[in-house]
Amino acid sequence: MDDKTGAGMNDESDAGYLEYVSGRIPALRRVAFLLGGDEHQADDLVQETITKLYAKWPRIAKVENLDAYVHTMLVRAFLDEKRRGWWRVSLRDVPPDRPTGPAAGAASTEERAVLRAALDRIPARQQAVLVLRFLCDRSVADVAQLLGCSEGTVKSQTSHGLNALRRILGDRVGGAL
């Protein structure tokens, strides 16, 4: 147990934390929102992440590539929450209206609801991989780092996740929804 950092507050350390965090909340919120699709959940995830970050700050403030570390914490928080929430998924909410026919133009609320519902049905890790790769434009190497796994695993999870989406969505994507 390293107690050199002391249990007391350190003004300099706090200032560093505040400076770091304040500039990054919008980006963290965005990733959290893309991961889960829910604004409240996104705020909860970011709140938990920056709380953990503060708790660890004396030890990790000097970590190289702190941004990657913090995003990893965020993704982990998302996966932990999904892990706890997997049980009893079978009784589930569905979009209030059934999708009808091809919808023209940009993503409608309905289309988003259908896609999000489909995404929610695949394993959380695959969900995270797909969102990070295709919505957050992260490279395979980046995603491997964020999830703490190999690049090969990211690739296979991408493939499994997309196959699962194909099964769930059938032929509705790739043409019109």
Binding site: Q47, T51, S90, R92, V94, L165, G170, G174
Partner: protein, 409 residues
């Protein structure tokens, strides 16, 4: 279209930024974070939890890491050679899901039209006996906004217990063709054994505590929990035939023995890696099945991820001998029937029977591309009867969910 193109096409409509105002509170993060720092400095949260358990006299120690075949271990059923799949009758309902079964496999319980949104559809509790629909009950006095009653378990007398799956919940029982609330509502009833003892939780959301009902007519009795849990919410997973209740506290399994003692399940060390969590999934075939949490075998590429990432193999644990057996490398390889934590849908129905994997024939549900998503809810003790649900894609509510029974020999 290759994977890359399909991924972009299918995911892109979900892009965008959150629109509402941020609810993030940096000041609160610092206050909460400061408390966590203190906690770590007083010995680490895991150690603190062990300490609590030790003080309550309940800590259990895993003594065996290597599976040891022996006459003391609960016997596994013989893996069936072949199974056939068929639909369970749903009466007037368009669709239904199986939500639980008893150890003999004769009794199954489910819910009608669970895949449709609650208003406008109200859901019925369904009870099957030897494959026949014997009760179809629409519960009265369901809370406003509740999606209905989900029966979580049923025993060998056809008595089922359940809860409201979302929001505030009441503990429910189905007995003699009637669905009613158990004493001590609100709460949830998660499991019942053949002796009629019910395990669940009582109290409002956020303050639910583990309880036992000694019969469907009894008042709930609180089960002891370690002191100083703070915001940690214990959950209740299952009840064994001998009345041992299995729960989870802070990511570790917790046992309430019939003699009134209780304690955490000790965590094993696997190949030099000390497990730091075990989520109990279900008690089945005499064993407790669950997901073990192990630090990653290889350091992550980021180097500093240390305590964050975890391997999540499935293990089973014998409560008496405290022996652990590994079943699968990760938690989503094969389903554990009737699991409380970590349920997932699989394209190919396969389920643990004892220590082995039983691959079941897919039931051709009327769904997209002829491919189903299966949830297995029950495997009988003799492995002759398996039950679950073939679900359509949530993206298409017009495709019904089909309750399926597999008969094996």
């Amino acid at each position: 279209m290759n994977d890359e193109e399909y991924g972009i096409l299918v995911l892109r409509p979900l892009g965008g930024d959150p629109e509402g105002p941020s609810a993030i509170d940096v000041g609160k993060a610092m206050r909460d974070g400061r408390r966590r720092r203190r906690r770590w400095w007083t010995g680490g949260s895991t150690l603190a939890a062990v300490l609590v358990a030790a003080l309550t006299g309940g800590v259990l120690v895993a003594t065996q890491q290597t599976p040891r075949p022996g006459p003391d271990l609960p016997p596994d059923p013989v893996l069936p050679a072949a199974c056939t799949a068929g639909p369970l009758p749903t009466g007037p309902h368009e669709s239904a899901e199986v939500s639980g079964g008893d150890p003999s496999g004769a009794w199954l319980v489910g819910m009608s039209d669970a895949h449709l949104p609650t208003p406008p559809v109200s859901h019925s509790v369904l009870l099957w006996h030897n494959g026949e629909l014997v009760a179809d009950v629409r519960p009265r006095d369901v809370r406003k906004g509740s999606p209905g009653v989900r029966m979580n378990d049923v025993n060998g007398s056809g008595v089922a217990v359940g809860s409201d799956p979302r929001g505030n919940s009441d503990p429910w029982v189905l007995e003699n063709g009637e669905v009613r609330k158990l004493a001590g509502a609100p709460g949830e009833a998660n499991a019942i054994n053949d002796a009629g003892v019910i395990a669940g939780r009582s109290g409002p959301p956020g303050q639910r505590r583990p309880v036992r009902w000694t019969s469907p007519d009894a008042e709930p009795t609180p089960l002891p929990v370690p002191a100083g849990l703070g915001n940690v919410q214990p959950t209740v997973t299952d009840i064994a035939p001998d009345g041992t209740i299995i729960g989870e506290i802070g990511g570790r399994a917790y046992l309430w023995w019939p003699d009134g003692t209780s304690g955490y399940v000790g965590l094993p060390t696997v190949e030099g890696r000390k497990a730091d969590g075990f989520l109990p999934m279900a008690f089945s075939h005499g064993w407790l099945y669950g997901t073990l949490f192990l630090p990653m075998a290889e350091p992550s590429p980021a180097g500093f991820l240390g305590g964050e990432a975890r391997d999540t193999p499935i293990y089973r644990y014998d409560l008496r001998s405290r022996i652990w057996q590994k079943l699968a490398d990760w938690q989503m390889e094969t389903q554990v029937a009737g699991t409380f934590h970590g349920q997932f849908m699989a394209a190919e129905p396969k389920v643990f029977v004892g220590r082995q994997v039983l691959s079941l024939p897919a039931y051709p549900a009327p769904i997209m591309d002829g491919t189903a998503n299966f949830l297995i809810e029950n495997v009988s003790d003799d492995a002759r009867t398996v039950a679950g649900t073939a679900l359509s894609g949530v993206a298409d509510p017009s495709k019904p969910a089909v309750p399926v029974i597999w008969r094996c020999r």
